[in-house]
């Protein structure tokens, strides 16, 4: 328990605004893969009797009456939950600036953002509070903050980890993911979390391997596809140099590195296709937040007014604006040319990536153009390839459901930036192996930000 109390003390002194609820540690007598390990959960993971807000004001007083399946699994393997972490409200956002408890600061530089939406979990791992934290990933909500925080972020295959008890955002894209400080821990954590759960009918029956025992960094003969559209859309030379250095090292280890280009017009749709599908699905998933059966209830003269007032005051501005986009996309006169069109393009993108990964062991690209942006950062042109492709390519993992992870790649101005790999469906064993080869090449593992 000593390690757990130590972590709990660190969590109390969190300087990144990452922790929203501290959970008094309870001794867990279960012996297993996480024995004695303190764990932090993103605040959209249901915890029985422990406040779960999804960083939304409307859930400020919500205490789930059951544990999410991942919580049961963590406890069964000896893990101890010590806190719930901040996130972008309802997981909608990529900055963690949209939590009703305020922005999460990047532990490497408090003037910068942690990234989101699982920013609190990422900051908790990067600042050395815990070695394991749970997040969720609908667009790149684990893999982007992992890049900005210098840690490993994993989004396994769709259906690999049960989502029962996770506040839903966009069901066709939502995944449970997690953060660790090295690839070995990442492979172990999947053993704990993965597996069929009849309470989540999208969870897979496929066998869960002992990934940590199968770990092997030999990439001799592995075929790695360099995501050329992303490289062409990047303009940060430092990022490109770090990436090319890494590719050279993988080549030295015997990997076969080849560039792969997809149709650029198709790649320019990555962001809008994501934005439409995610917001349309979100409007339906979040219709249960009405302030009547649970959540914060505002006054009103009749039931309709109570719901309208509860939702108006309970949701932040960004969320309501996104809901309007979702409502627009689903409106009868727009549905075919917006929502259905996006779903059709999703299929075309998935087919292209599938074809590529039939030939290659993984698709690789920098996770982002830059290190974490400043909290008061400049706005990026949302019609540029840099934004549409380079900053949003990781949604491919959510469209396809394929496993994808971010591993640290290097530094700029003392802040980390990661590299992302995506592999075939249920090919996590291979993903961890390539991830380990990357980790050995960069020497960047077990990084902890020096928090003053």
């Amino acid at each position: 328990m000593e390690k757990i109390y130590k972590a709990f003390e660190k969590a109390k002194n969190d300087k990144c605004n990452a922790i929203v609820t501290l959970v008094e540690p309870k001794e867990n007598l279960n012996k297993g893969k996480l024995s004695g390990e303190p764990i932090i959960l993103k605040d959209n993971i249901s915890t029985k009797g422990i406040r779960t807000t999804a960083s939304s004001k409307i859930l400020d007083n919500y205490y789930p009456i059951f544990d999410a399946t991942v919580v049961e699994k963590i406890k069964a393997e000896g893990g101890v939950i010590i806190g719930k972490a901040s996130m972008d409200e309802l997981a909608m956002g990529g900055t963690n600036l949209a939590a009703y408890t305020g922005p999460v600061l990047n532990p490497w530089d408090y003037k910068r953002m942690s990234g989101g939406s699982s920013g609190g979990s990422a900051a908790a791992v990067a600042s050395g509070i815990v070695s394991f934290a749970i997040g969720s990933d609908t667009g790149d909500s684990v893999r982007k903050p992992a890049s900005f925080c210098g840690i490993v972020g994993v989004k396994p295959t769709y259906g690999r980890i049960s989502r029962y008890g996770v506040v839903a955002y966009a069901s066709s894209l939502d995944h449970v993911g997690y953060f660790t400080r090295n690839v070995k821990d990442a492979s172990l954590m999947l053993e704990v979390l993965a597996g069929r759960d009849d309470k989540d009918m999208t969870s897979s029956f496929k066998e869960v391997k002992e990934y940590s025992k199968l770990l092997n960094s030999d990439v001799k003969g592995k075929k790695i596809a360099v995501f050329k559209n992303v490289i062409d859309s990047l303009d940060n030379e430092n990022t490109l140099n770090l990436f090319n250095d890494l590719l050279n090292k993988l080549k030295e280890k015997g990997a076969i590195i080849e560039e792969v280009s997809f149709d650029n017009d198709l790649m320019r749709t990555l962001f809008p296709v994501y934005f439409i599908i995610a917001n349309c699905e979100a409007t339906s998933n979040h219709s249960n937040l009405d302030g009547l059966r649970f959540g914060v209830s505002e006054d009103g003269d009749d039931t309709r007014e109570v719901v309208i007032n509860s939702r108006t005051k309970g949701f932040g501005s960004l969320i309501r604006k996104r809901f309007v986009i979702g409502s627009f996309g689903l409106h009868e006169e727009n549905q075919e040319k917006v929502f259905k069109k996006a779903q059709r393009i999703r299929r075309l993108i998935v087919e292209e990536v599938k074809k590529c990964l039939e030939e290659y062991d993984c698709l690789i690209a920098p996770a982002s153009n830059d290190i974490a942006p400043l909290l008061e950062g400049n706005k990026i042109d949302e019609l540029s390839d840099k934004y549409l492709i380079a900053e949003n390519h990781m949604v491919i993992g959510n469209f396809t459901g394929y496993p994808s992870m971010t591993v640290p790649m290097g530094f700029e101005k003392g802040c980390p930036i990661g590299v992302n790999i995506t592999c075939k469906a249920f090919d996590e064993e291979n993903m961890f192996n390539i991830g380990l080869a990357i980790e050995e090449s960069t020497g960047l593992k077990d990084l902890v930000a020096k928090v003053d």
Binding site: P272, T312, K337, Q343, L383
Partner: protein, 95 residues
Amino acid sequence: MIEKEYIKELAHELMFDLSEEEVVEIQKEYETFSKQLELLEKIDTKDVKPMPYPFENETNYLREDVVTHVITQEDALRNASYSKEGHFVVHKVVK
């Protein structure tokens, strides 16, 4: 340009209000969004079926009709702001 009234209607359908500033912000953001929609129009999707989920292999099935995962009435009402005699309480609907 997307009309202010239309934006408000979309919000009301989802049961919330927007401030005047938020409506103006949406109008502005819609300019970018509509240009992003044009990118979608460039893609030929004739005979392509919508993809509602990543995988099309079935993981769901009709389960046996047996009672599982029961929650108590007390638990079900625990998070409601107003409840009485085993019910959620709302304003009178029929007056």
